[in-house]
Symmetry: C2
Subunit: 355 residues, 2 copies
DNA sequence: TTGAAAGCGCTAACAG
DNA sequence: CTGTTAGCGCTTTCAA
C-alpha cells in the first residue's frame, strides 16, 4: 500500500492545480485524492463516513487533507447531494433577547456537528417570514426552524414540500407541521392570575405591545383574561400599543392605565421590559410596589432579578428550547425516525418582590 | 418571434422534468429556457442582468419564470461563479443588543439586494471567530463583516486570501484589513471623564465586565483612565469581573466598589446594563443618584431614557453602523472601487439625570 | 472496500 | 443580443 508521497510530490500536486477563479490556491478534493493515492469518491467517503473506508485509507486521506489544509467546498457538495449543511432559522426579532438566547443555545447544541445556521429575522411579520423561508429554501437547507405555530399557507406549503425536518418553537400545538418545541403561552398568562389572586389583588390590569403581530403575547393575554374571569375578577383593564415593547412604552402605558383606572392594583406586562418601565414609573409617581401596585412581567430577562424591587415574572425556557431543538434536529438529521413530535418544556413563575 | 407556448406545452415542460432527488417538482433553468424559447444562458442573463437582453426576451423569460414559479438554485450559481449571494457576518454576541441592532440595520440596508447574511457568533473569542470565518469561507461569501479590529493572524490571512470586500466595524483603525466602519472607543471613554469633571466629580470609579476579551470595552477603559490623568484626577478605582455584563453583576460591583472606596462619587460602567444594576443598588443602599453618586453607562440601551433617574450614557451609532456597512458593501459589490475606507461615525454623550 | 463515470443546476467565456 | 460549450467541485450509483 503506497505511503503518502514525499514533499516534492506535494509541491507538484499544489502546482498542478491553478485556481485562477478563486484568488487563492485552494486545493480540491482531487488534489487530496492524488496525494493520498485514491479516488475522489474514496476521499469523499473517508471524510463523511469514515467507517466506510479502511483504516489505512482513512489515515492517508487524513494526512493528505492535513498537508494540503484542504477544506471541502460545501457548495459543490450541496449541489451534488441536493442537501446542504445549513439549517434555516426564522425568528421574529434579533433584538429581543428571548430568541437570541434560544439561538445561542441552539448554536451550542449544534456545535461540532458541521451544521451552520442561516438566521432570518421576520420582524413579527408572516409575509416576511414567507419571503425568508423562500430564500432559505434556495440553499437546500437540511432543516428549517420556525418561531410560533402560525404561518402563511405558502410558508407551510414550502416547508412541507421541502421534505426536511421542520421544527416550530416557542409555542405548543396539537398539529405541528412536523415537530414543535415550546410551552403553553396561554397557560403562562393564566398562572399570573393565580399568583395575583394569592397575593390578594382585586383589580387587574394588562399592558401589551405589538399585539397585532405578536401572537404569543396575544395567547398570554387570552390566558390572563380567561383565568381572570374564572377566578371571579372583573375583566382586566388594558393598555396596548403598536410599537415594539420598550421600557419607555411601559412607563407611558402604566401612567395612562392608572390615570384612567386608579383602582387597578395588579398589572401584568407581556414583557419584562415593559414591566421595567412600569417599575420606574411607579417610582416616579410614588406608587409603592407591591404595596399600592403589583407588577408582574414575562421573560425573566436578566435584569428582573436585579431590580428594586426585584421583578416577579414568568420564566420561559429560553435556552432549553434551543438546546432541545438542536437535539431533535441532530437526531432527525442523523436518520432517526421522528418519534415524539410535541415537546412541552413548561415555564415557571418566579415570585419576587414586585408582587 | 415565438410567443410563450400555450398551456399544453407548459404541461409537457413540467412533465419532462422529473425531480426525484428533491421531494418536489421544482423547475430548473432549462425548463424556463424551453418554455421561453431561449437558451439557459439567456435566462441566466435575463434574471441577473436584465438590461443585457432584449425587452422582448426579458418579458418572455419573466413570464415563463412566473408560470413555472421558478426559483434559481443559488448553490448551483455559486458553484459556477465561485461567489455566492451570501455575506458572512461575525459578531461577538447575539444577546448583546448592540450588535443585534447593527445586524438588523444591515439587514434592512441589504433588503431587496438578494444578499443573505450568514451570521456567526464568536462569543468574544478570536479562536471562535477564526473557526467561524473558516466555515463561512466554505460558502464562498461575497463579502465578510467582522467586529472589531483585532483578529487572529489566520483570520486575517483567510480574509485577505478570499479577495472579497472585508468590512470591520464598531472600532476605528488606521490600517483596516480593507474597510472599517465605527467610532473611537477610546474617545468614548475620554468624553465621560470630561462630563464627570463638568458635573464636579472628584473621585472616579470604573466598573467593567469581560475585559479580558472585550477589546472595545478595554479601549473605553483606557480612554477613561488616560483622560482622568490628564484632567488631574487620581487614578480611577476599579472593579472588574470575568462574566458577561449583567445588571446583577453591576449591582454587586457597585456594592463592592463603594465598600472599598466610599469616597468615590462618579462611576463609569462600560455597559448600560451594568449601570442599570448600579442604579438599583444605589436605590437599595439609599445612595442618592446623582447627589451622592453619579453613574454613567455606555450604549444608550433603550431603558436608559426610561430609568429613574434617567441614565447618562454614551450613545454609539448602533444602527448607523449597520446602515453604513450595508451601503459600503452594496457599492463595492456593485463593482465600484473602494474609495474611502475609514468611516468614523462618531458617538454622543447623552446627559441625563444620573450624573 | 474502492473506482469510474455521470451528473447536480448554473455561469462564463467565446463565437456568431 | 444570443447560443454553444465547458466546466464549477463534489456526491452517488453501479460495477469491480
Amino acid at each position: 500500500m503506497a505511503k503518502v508521497p514525499p514533499d516534492d510530490l506535494l509541491q507538484t500536486v499544489l502546482r498542478s492545480a491553478p485556481r485562477e477563479r478563486l484568488g487563492t490556491t485552494r486545493s480540491r478534493m482531487e488534489d487530496v485524492a492524488r496525494l493520498a493515492g485514491v479516488s475522489t469518491a474514496t476521499v469523499s467517503r473517508a471524510l463523511r463516513q469514515p467507517d466506510r473506508v479502511s483504516p489505512a485509507v482513512r489515515a492517508r486521506v487524513d494526512e493528505a487533507v492535513e498537508r494540503l489544509s484542504y477544506r471541502r467546498n460545501l457548495m459543490a457538495g450541496a449541489l451534488a447531494s441536493a442537501r446542504s449543511m445549513t439549517i434555516g432559522v426564522i425568528i421574529p426579532s434579533m433584538i429581543n433577547s428571548f430568541f437570541s438566547a434560544t439561538v445561542e443555545a441552539m448554536e451550542e447544541g449544534l456545535e461540532g456537528s458541521g451544521y451552520q445556521l442561516l438566521i432570518g429575522n421576520s420582524r413579527h411579520s408572516m409575509e416576511i417570514e414567507e419571503r425568508l423561508v423562500a430564500s432559505v429554501m434556495a440553499w437546500s437547507p437540511a432543516a428549517i426552524v420556525l418561531t410560533g405555530r402560525r404561518h402563511s399557507r405558502e410558508t407551510i406549503r414550502m416547508a412541507l414540500d421541502a421534505d426536511i425536518p421542520i421544527v416550530e418553537m416557542w409555542e405548543l400545538s396539537d398539529h405541528p407541521i412536523d415537530t414543535i418545541v415550546g410551552f403553553s403561552q396561554r397557560a403562562a398568562g393564566r398562572i399570573v392570575v393565580r399568583h395575583f389572586a394569592e397575593r390578594g389583588a382585586r383589580k387587574l390590569g394588562f399592558i401589551g405591545a405589538m399585539l397585532d403581530r405578536d401572537y404569543r403575547a396575544v395567547d398570554r393575554y387570552a390566558g390572563f383574561v380567561e383565568a381572570a374571569a374564572e377566578a371571579g375578577f372583573a375583566p382586566p383593564v388594558e393598555y396596548r400599543f403598536e410599537k415594539r415593547a420598550s421600557a419607555i412604552g411601559g412607563s407611558e402605558a402604566l401612567r395612562a392605565l392608572m390615570a384612567q383606572h386608579p383602582d387597578v392594583d395588579a398589572v401584568f406586562c407581556t414583557n419584562d421590559i415593559l414591566a421595567l418601565g412600569g417599575l420606574f414609573e411607579a417610582q416616579r409617581q410614588g406608587w409603592s410596589v407591591p404595596g399600592r401596585l403589583r407588577i408582574c412581567g414575562f421573560g425573566d430577562l436578566e435584569f428582573a432579578a436585579a431590580s428594586e424591587p426585584a421583578l416577579t415574572t414568568v420564566r420561559p425556557p429560553r435556552g432549553a428550547i434551543g438546546t432541545k431543538v438542536a437535539e431533535v434536529l441532530l437526531s432527525r438529521l442523523g436518520g432517526k425516525p421522528a418519534g415524539q413530535t410535541i415537546f412541552d418544556l413548561g415555564f415557571e413563575l418566579v415570585a419576587r418582590g414586585s408582587t
